[in-house]
Point group: D2
């Protein structure tokens, strides 16, 4: 009798989800699979089924001698997976569909391109961009201007600099605040570069938006959801840096927070992970994250070899590595006098070093841009 019940269910489902079913319109698919514990009772299984059905999932239960497996067909955003995990007898949930939606290439196969009022574009087949400048903006405006002018001459598009700085120790310099923003705006006026600066607190949103062309969310704030929500509601492009211990999935879910709140102009930035080996580098720059994210998301992604390694001599090779794997740009710390920099001097280039390195980087970028314009078929 029960068999018959399930046959009916199956017949009902068949047109929707079995292979080679012809030209039937499919609007539901298996999105989660729930694996029950070895000792799960029939009551446990029924409770899972009931919760799923309450949220309009279609359900298929396959009982084994060890594990019972439940397929759920539907849109899991209406039901937090944690709800299911909490049920007695549930061992694990396996997600078939990635939990990020808006950021997913499944939803939007073509690359997202972000365009600025001066015509600069990030993403897609566009020439990779360069964002350079000091870690934090300091009292010496002339120094900042000198960096900006060199950047302009080398064809960079963005001037970066911190006004509010997150610092591990309370004894370190933590930024000039609004004065720094004014300096950046002044340097923009002088050079035409676009301004990138970090927002650390949603209370400063209006202030930062007033001065910045691109708002940066730092790695330590990648899961500061209030902040993500606040930039989601503003209309400026956002650079979202990957947390030092964030998985790619968490990273894309953080982007999802911004997009879900209304702002689709998100530029991802890989800037190095915490690893078990910090003897020679501050972080471990995850170069493979670039092609992985390109495969699963349509958002542009840049790399930051300064934070990513913490070592000046690694900026050039790691910027190149990021670019050859397809990054849409690089962010590099440049200071007019790294020995006097109040923060991150170790990972900053001086102006002569910057010129030397970017002459070589620009030549690589040109080559890569040519290849992008005439893309070859890649190996899937």
């Amino acid at each position: 009798m029960v068999v018959i019940l399930y046959l009916i269910v199956l017949f009902d489902l068949l047109p929707e989800f079995y292979y080679n079913c012809g030209n039937v319109s499919i609007n539901k698919e298996v999105t989660m699979i729930i694996i029950m514990e070895r000792n799960a009772t029939e009551e446990n299984i029924q409770t899972v089924v009931d919760l799923l059905e309450l949220h309009e999932f279609k359900v298929l239960v396959k009982q084994g001698d060890v594990h019972t497996v439940i397929d759920a067909l539907g849109d899991k955003t209406t039901l937090s997976p944690g709800r299911i995990e909490a049920l007695d007898g549930v061992k694990q949930i396996k997600f078939i569909r990635e939990p990020f939606r808006l950021a997913s290439r499944d939803r939007k196969p073509e690359d997202t391109v972000i365009e600025f009022s001066n015509g600069v574009k990030i993403g897609g087949a566009n020439r990779p961009v360069s964002m350079v400048g000091p870690c934090s903006v300091e009292e010496d405006y002339e120094g900042l201007l000198e960096v900006a002018q060199a950047a302009k001459e080398l064809g960079c598009q963005f001037l970066r600099g911190g006004a509010f700085k997150p610092r591990t120790s309370p004894y370190d310099f933590d930024g000039l605040g609004e004065k720094a923003l004014q300096y950046l705006a002044k340097a923009r006026e002088a050079t035409g570069l676009l301004v990138v600066t970090e927002l650390m607190d949603s209370a400063d949103l209006d202030l930062v938006c007033h001065y910045a062309d691109v708002i940066q969310i730092g790695a330590r704030n990648m899961q500061n959801f209030k902040l993500l929500k606040s930039v989601g509601k503003c209309n400026k492009p956002v650079i979202l840096k990957r947390g030092a211990a964030s998985t790619i999935r968490e990273f894309l879910l953080a982007a999802e927070h911004i997009m879900y709140n209304g702002n689709e102009q998100v530029i991802l930035c890989e800037r190095g992970l915490k690893s078990f080996d910090s003897a020679f580098t501050r972080n471990l720059l995850d170069i493979s994250a670039v092609p992985v994210i390109k495969k699963y998301s349509h958002l542009p992604i840049i790399v930051d070899p300064s934070h990513g390694t913490g070592q000046r001599y690694l900026i050039e090779p790691m910027a190149k590595a990021g670019l050859v794997v397809g990054a849409d740009g690089v962010m590099v710390e440049v200071h007019h006098n790294p020995s006097q920099a109040l923060s991150d001097g170790k990972q900053s280039l001086s102006i002569p070093q910057f010129k030397e390195v970017f002459t070589r980087l620009n030549s690589l970028i040109d080559t890569l841009h040519l290849e992008k314009s005439a893309p070859v078929l890649s190996v899937e």
Copy 2:
């Protein structure tokens, strides 16, 4: 000539820092050692010496055929180590003294004890405390009250519950806000339990302070320095959760941020680290962090086996593990109906489970408390 200069420096320093120098008052010591690169020039070395001396460090330079090593004697809070690292030819800085000061047991050898108006104490030889309650406070006040009443009966001291919830996905429930705070306050009135709740944004500081007895800073915000600063300026005890990829040093520096801003009532909380193995547990609870932190800091520390493992069946064993190594308390998620919990049900105890587990935990706590009152000499 320079040799003579250094001889003078040496003579000057000798009474202060050489071994067995008698009863001379010592107020400076080696706090940093700067190791120069193999190919560092004399000019590089001199630049380091000059910067150190500018910041009133005493300096001792030891040249080798491979590496030159520079001892710096003084108080490094006046000079960010990053400034030195940025100088040409510097390979690495080794810190002799831990960078945290206020949180350090070097500064304050006796345990910090935090006392509440109702007489509850955390830290030192006091009985370990219990903080229990749902991950997030939900619409059903009766459910919350039921948990609070059970907690009261079992001798727990704190009711925990989230009003604002950080969620990895934007599609998950993110808290009831002020209504949740009101519910917590109401349950406090009914039971006499103290209230712990998380602050996620400095904009909500006054609101949360108004209702909470203890303010919690979540793991994802451990390096949200604006937030640390804001709770540093309030007069409520703070539970600071360790970031999932934070070193112990970073954790204590985060506590230092709060203390440096004026609030010395910091309770640390170990809640699990991100590891390469998440097949069976959500995080890797670092039990050894408890005795390590007890050795290097005077602050009280508790453990959270709910977040620390993400698995209900691991709450009891891991709470016990935390307690036997010296934790000053445990924080455990309890929900009146975990299967219906809107968040973290998987790692919450139901009320009957809670009673069962805490009956056993209380018996362990009693034993440990007796031992604490009559401490044995430990192995250093």
Copy 3:
């Protein structure tokens, strides 16, 4: 037409794997789920189906608008999952059943107990055992004997000591070889303790088997499969240490290698993981691995707080932590003169410290043993 084919397959499968199917004998179940890439072609899907069917899996294909999902029912040991992963269009395989079989509690619900000729037992409800001794056996036999005698007096059951030592640097002491084995045997004769020593090379198997009561496989050799195979073929119990970066699944698969080759007397040993924080401890001892492994495997497991932390002062608290979560024993380094130890002195107890620590540990072990004999129902 193809639809019909699948209907037939479905009918064939129905009695076996659908929920609530009555009292039908079930001998196959879903063991793997194959998730296809977004852009997988029908040909890709068919190739997967063909390979599965060739290996006698039953197959169920569920096509979605994004991902097609294939359930495979059968015994995956006949087909390496890597074979499937290699097929074009396959995104990922999700395993429903853990890949270890012989080591799994699914196969053998009751605890494995290993019994020695002198009546000592490890595992199950037996009293947790103690294995103590120097990291490496040194020239001074009297020193070793002194440790062994103290161990005997304190009720320990095993004397451990290395004859062949893995050393990170070629400049470090690497063991006395056979002479060490003879010393251990001599100390066994004098005290009645059982001898544990490490095997590093399958060429030494007979030699080590001749002298040892228990053969240890070190963490660095956990995936030295030749070595696992060779101890699989001997009839002595084996202590298998978890690799510093091994997942629990890899750990149990390494045990599976030994068991598959014929030796079921495997004692697991958790000895610390490599983490991003090595400032205060050499490794991060994963205490939660004990209850996790107890849940998924029937094999006994012990903890090694000496290697697990690398710090003498952490041996006692972390041994206690391991014991309260259910470890079947502890392994601790004890040296008659740690300051003169040729290896691992930092993490060894001196004999007086050993007596002090084990007096307290024994009292905890007694309490826990009493509880084990009268077990309470635990929270699943």
Copy 4:
């Protein structure tokens, strides 16, 4: 009196290690710094000094109000640092000189170049090499030959293939043994390619040496010191793969083991680290390890993007990343029919994919080779 003693010591040392001391010959330098615990006694300090002096170190003790710091000048290979760490009152040892010597660029500033009888060279300014072939050699010799011929045509220099395979699960295919070696030799005869194959057990050394041109030590055996010793005593070049959780320092110390035993022909290979994120890649390929190792060691280093990522589509971008940062070669898995490969098919290229990818890689290699021949000054 003691003060006087130390003054004498100081005077004695001054010409040797103080800055700007003129043209004195320096043959000793600070190699270790020992930091004492806050509560170390004078006796503790004296014991450290005595041990150091026994091993002919010169010693300088600097007492602080918190930590006493001891400089040790001398050659630490005569004294294992663990011996010092074990002394009571020692908090930590800081190494000034890297523990590897033979592998260090300090000892040998120029690049090591390894030359084969057929004129192929690895390292220095030579053209980066390509090593390709199946993960494991299988029964189908024609398939292997097909790969070898394609490799020859594309200008690759090495044919790789496993005869003995380490497998995480005992249920997986573990290699054909000597037959595989014979196949490789036959393919070498047919194509002129050099043969690379893995040695897993020192018992097979002569066998593998007989057939191979280069012996590979796998990542899981990087710290199998018996194996390192045995290849140290043979006269074939060795590819040493970095362990999945090995630091760069441990990696270079493993190379040191081989070199110390007499074989200086070591080729390092970066092949990916275990990380907290394995959702999209099997390992995290540490691209920055290449330029870091180039800075600290003279040994050649190649990258393996097949194992490094576990994903076919990442082979090309990650090979390029390795090459642009200076790798001396790439190792890539190629199989004549990846869908049928008995191991690692997922991360293997088919022959058509191989041709496509290597056409592009060769063009990058040519460009990089030109740059190598006319090197630019790099940023230190």
